[in-house]
Amino acid sequence: MIHLDTNTLLWDRWLTHAGQTPASTAIIHYVAGEEPFVWTWSNLIGRASRYAAILKNAGVRHGQVCGLIIRHHREFYPIYMAVESLGALPAVLAYPNPRLHPDKFRQGLEGMSHRSGLDFILTEQDLEPMVRPLINNPVSTIKSLLFPLDWQTDPIMTSTSAPTTPHPALSPDSPALLQHSSGTTGLQKPVILSHRAILEHVHHYGRAIALTPTDKVCSWLPLYHDMGLIAAFHMPLAAGIPTIQIDPFEWVIAPVLLFDAISSEKATLSWLPNFAYNHMAERIHDDDLADIRLDSIRVLINCSEPVRAASHNRFAERFAALGLNRSALSASYAMAETTFAVTQTLPGREAPWIDADRQSLGEGNFVLVRPNQPSRRCVSSGLPIDGCDVRIVDDRRADLPDGRVGEIAVRSVSMFDGYRNNAEQTAKVLENGWYYTGDYGFRLGREHYIIGRKKDIIIVAGKNLYPEDIEDAVNSAPGIHPGRVIAFGAEDEAAGTEQICIIAETDAATDADRKQVRRGIIEAGMRVDVTIARTYLVPPRWLIKSSAGKPSRSANRDRALSELTPVE
């Protein structure tokens, strides 16, 4: 087990590792086809201190928010740590996909700046034309654009500077970082976490997965996502165990890279969203697996989207011959608002599952499936980790007994203090220290089963998307009636995730016109970096309105899925 002092700063924790084990590995930066780059603790802290000196000269001060928009790069880690060392708050933001329209990217960043109060953007020269107009906007909070990858020739980078001393005003309860609770650009909710919240989380979650000094994390997860940032980056850094970081873009295209790294580095832990199990089982060629061994994996944690039993099965069967132990297949329920994990299944045991009667479950009750009745296999996300309490509540937020489906409410020692600059949204979800998640599930004994969402969020490949963002984008597509569009998520069993569906009212009647409209909708989705898988085109006044006069997502979703065929 690893025991942490949680009454300290992250930077001080890292300095301790550098002092005690300077030559041991902190981070392995992995790039396909290249020799992995190893950051020892000593090199990493030295490098971070030099970046910190330049950042300080550039005006970065404690309490300020620094948005980092940098692609997979070995210098990213010391830059991030440098921001942390100054007591400023790093906020990792997604590097824009080439599909994303520059205006949409700027708009998203502007909204984020408004809500998160971004002070500096640390990025690459390539993005300057896209980001610069924001700085020049008189109402912008962003003071300056910095390009730390270009500082390699700065004399400070080659000097021997002493490790940065944190600002004396900083305490373990000071804000340590800012992360966003969703992946879309328009409606992101910024969450501030303190040093103590993160270290408490590492302490408790580390116990839940029986973390030891011999563990090694391997991850392809993007660091703007809480699972990548907290589980696969902050946790190993705080615990002083190595983390292997793979480029998410490379992994999606060549998923065998994760196995390459696990096998060669003998990694023991990895976190994956459900779709990744299908993606790897489906897309990795047998002949790429010749030298791969997966015996070293101790716990593989399925998290960030609903856990599907079929995905675990497919993955376990496909890779059993490589030494993958089925008992490593575990699951967790997590969210940015509680730093990360809320529940976790027991390590060393496959995540348990149970077959529920589908109809009863739909009516809010868990009942074991009867013979020949439709069932739904529910996989447990485990039991609350220490420091976390979980309740299942009804619409009036009153507790429900075991087996009753309700909203999941969470209380945690690693809880956020509220969404930054958004008291209204905070008041909706935080009450008397409990965070009302908007997720639905039930409890049986100690096991918690997450089965759905109250909110309309669509989770595609572990990324949370708001239907409103997609509908806004699609509204501009030619041939559809503006405001008469619904976006929703539908289960994609083969991919182990959801796919985005659109229902749009249109006058287009001929086959050719309807195909043209569909293409316009897909292209509109691309401009906000989402892939629309199914398009249902309907005549005017087809959409069912809610009592508030707006088209109802759930009613229209059910109607489309039962009555319509998508345009192809």
Partner: protein
Amino acid sequence: MISDRLKQIILRQLKLDDFPITAETTAPQVPGWDSLSHVGILAAIEKEYGIRFRTLEVIKFKNVGDLQAAIDKKTPK
């Protein structure tokens, strides 16, 4: 020069009737071509031509022209 055979595989995978695809076309320009559908397109090409792309090759494809060149190298003239 992009062969009609390659173009048809791409269009079929993306469920598109038609779309102008040239050697310079990149994935983000084509409706529905994202990183996940990209992997499906590569698998369809491998099946159709009876070839195999290596991991490093796959990561380095920048446009459809690169894809066509890799296919040409692996298929008998």
